[in-house]
């Protein structure tokens, strides 16, 4: 299950698009994870590994950086890494195609929020059980997932381990 997907500009962590699992069933309080996702995007920079998995309790954050854009997803720990990264790769291809040129110029958060529609479709195709079996014969050219770095999200956010660059943590949204 993919619960959260975020696309952000690496240079300054500006959110470009996002999708949160819309499901009464999953009903989790994703607030905390959202906050971690935002913080994480801010911490990333050119020195960060371009593929990484971060453990967060019984969930995993997986991210992929390509062309100055970070694609981040929050998945259940049982969700296969291979699929997670194939998903992020697919997102990157489509996103870059549609919006890649404009990424350096935008200033408003979520300037490409309309990408959400595509993210949801993509998510469905990866999560739907029949599709999962089909995608089992996944793109074998996909980078060997063994080589993807694994770390712990808390440590990364607090101590900046494995990811360089420290930015101010935003604990909760600002009062209007």
């Amino acid at each position: 299950m993919i619960l959260l997907t975020m696309v952000a500009r690496v240079a300054d962590g500006l959110p470009l698009a996002a999708s949160i699992q819309e499901d009464e069933q999953s009903g989790r309080d994703l607030q905390q994870y959202q906050s971690q996702a935002k913080q994480l995007c801010r911490k990333l920079n050119a020195q960060s590994p371009d593929r990484c998995t971060l453990e967060a309790g019984d969930m995993n954050f997986h991210y992929l950086i390509a062309q100055g854009v970070c694609y981040l997803s929050l998945c259940e720990a049982s969700f296969p890494k291979k699929m997670a990264f194939a998903y992020l790769e697919d997102l990157h291809n489509e996103f870059y195609d549609q919006y890649g040129r404009r990424v350096p110029t935008v200033t408003r958060p979520y300037s490409f929020i309309e990408f959400d529609t595509y993210i949801q479709k993509m998510k469905k195709s990866y999560v739907d059980s029949r599709a999962r079996r089909n995608l089992g014969s996944i793109n074998t050219e996909l980078q060997d997932v063994q080589r993807i770095m694994v770390a712990n999200i808390e440590e990364v956010l607090q101590r900046g381990e494995a990811l360089s660059g420290v930015t101010k943590l935003c604990q909760s949204p600002v009062r209007p």
Partner: protein, 806 residues
Amino acid sequence: MEYLHRGTEEHFQQPSLLCSLMIRKPFLFLFNQPPGGPGPAQLSPSLAAMSLQSSTPEALRVVNLLQERNLLPPTPVPAPTPCLPQDLQKINCNPEVFRCTLTSIPQTQSLLNKAKMPLGLLLHPFKDLSQLPVVTSSTIVRCRSCRTYINPFVSFLDQRRWKCNLCYRVNDVPEEFMYNPVSRSYGEPHKRPEVQNATIEFIAPSEYMLRPPQPAVYLFVLDVSHNAVETGYLNVFCQSLLDNINALPGDSRTKVGFITFDSTIHFYNLQEGLSQPQMLIVSDIEDIFLPTPDSLLVNLNECKELVQDLLKSLPTLFGKTMETQSALGSALQAAFKLLSPTGGRMSVFQTQLPNLGVGALQSREDPNQRASAKDIQHLSPATDFYKKLALDCSGQQVAVDLFLLSAQYCDLASLGCISRYSAGSVYYYPSYHHQHSPAQVERFQKDLKRYLTRKIGFEAVMRIRCTKGLSIHTFHGNFFVRSTDLLSLPNVNPDAGFAVQMSIEDNLDDMQVVSFQAALLYTSSKGERRIRVHTLCLPVVSSLSDIFSGADVQAMTGLLACMAVDRSVTASLSDARDAMTNAAIDSLTSYRQSVLTIQQPGLLAPACLRLFPLYILALLKQKAFRTGTSTRLDDRVFAMCQLKYQPLFYAMLMIHPALYRVDDLTDEGALNINERTIPQPRVLQLSVEKLSREGAFLMDTGTVMYLWIGRNCHPNFLTQVLGVPNYAAVPENLYLLPELDTAESQRTRAFVGWLRDQRPFYPSLHVIRDESQLKANFMQNMIEDRTASALSYYEFLLHLQQQISK
């Protein structure tokens, strides 16, 4: 814009620069300037706290209400101008957006208590504006301690430091703010647009979002019982949505969905790829569930054809239904489940009392009590089901709008809660029927068009702050108050008004001015997070006469109406009526005792309050509060809802309709707008004295207009405007003006059209003769006249005088 000076006016009304910047309507009275340039009222006081000079300003001119018969100005009453130095007042907030009952704030609570006038603010924060400065900035400058947004009324200690006008904290000017992108200059932070505009909008950075901006999601919940089909509303609704499907505010993410219901709930699978919409029926209304996880709310762009197919087939789908039951509660629960993951707007269309399942209501109106002279029962909800559900909706950013189209009692007092606490709005079409009430049908169509296409904001919150010493204690409007002063608004729409009451906790000594700021954080229909900020500045005064001279009689009336609605529900209607009368008595008593220097006989009021007793009487005779005249309970409750929800301008039309003579319209004093000549007849007093059998009169009550034709009306009017040869030929149910190619017809239609253009909802028109059934409705608005159950205006004045002299 140009207009012809009207020689008959007392004041020369000049639209200001602020007017042309902010207001789309070209003619709006903002500032009240006496002829011949600035007069005593305009003398900018060097210290606002100082009492006004010896010459009495116009606002305090003593009026003996018993003698002065022509109180109404010929044109709509303008908002009073706060007595501030010109450079401050020039950039002050538009009174159409932000208005205070007292434009001169008392220095202490005891002074306010002595004045015996209510202190409060009336806001229309999301009003459609023709010009709105929008700022995209990496830093939004706010006070470090109270979080007020920087505004035109802060003070700069030097270039690098600014002092908050609400808490007086000194803040640093951030480096980025030193640069002015408009003038491309550096070092003049006070020239930035945030400090030059009292109304401004910011593009919000991501810290202002709890989640990524939601898409526009519209869910329509439709009553399809036999009764509903009978009314024929479904045809109008479906056609209206089809016509406006491409104009729904949103972007490529916009989603729509439909639920219909009678004794069961029906969902519609509109998944892309289906050859036609698929209806799914859930009959277990006690434990409602969604029959399929996806495709009940679909992307509008991708599934448009299916949506259109559904809308074309819905009216006939239920054409033969014999279902009489209505499980509204379950339908609402289902709709809530569908919308809660994303938030959005629920539009509910109901044509009868819900009588099945959760939230079922009883017909508790006693028709024999409609004309009760005593208290009215059943003004409060019969069940907390709707309020509870509304609060749940609010928590998930879902607002519920209710369209009530019914000939029978529907217990709006209970149903209305679903909108009230979820920041929705209520629309009411009593006795709606596609054949029997064509005027209602027209109104429904026009209202729907506005409703579907108007601007909308999602997942919004609003906070109102005021200068230290002042505090807000009661809120009026449709919303949920979260954490003392944060208003939760799942939807915000441009037609909603709000009001708050304030008290003075600490003396405002040493303050010359105080400020108020309303900040509205919302997501636009295109997924942009924005903050709209309005700031109002008002002088502080220490004398009662100054307080009186700054009184805003319409704002006071509007706020009292809100307070009276609350009092009617929590205490009783008679309590509320007494309280309103006492408001007039107390304020005039205070004036007489503490401000009036020379005691004179009569009922004396300052000019600025001369309309107060008239407005109070109007409230006492308003549908919401009247007794002794047959009033349907739902009509009454709806009037109460409107008094709390409508922005002041429209509320005043409800309370004190405008009456004009229209059979003798001329071009003298007319406005010239877009090359059309709009006549400007005088506003008349609401008394049959002002009617004439020889004339035709238009009464504008906001949502309804009546064109009353006198028995001996000049044949010219009948032929040239109504297209009939004589009085007897005027049709019984005429609800529109024929488009005749005569000068009189053009003038009349131009005038009526101009009145209609000034408001976002559509007033229906009824042409009535003396024998018409609607004559009673028309006559009920003749506030100044005596009736079987209520005093005339003059008698009311005498009553007040008697109470004051005690």
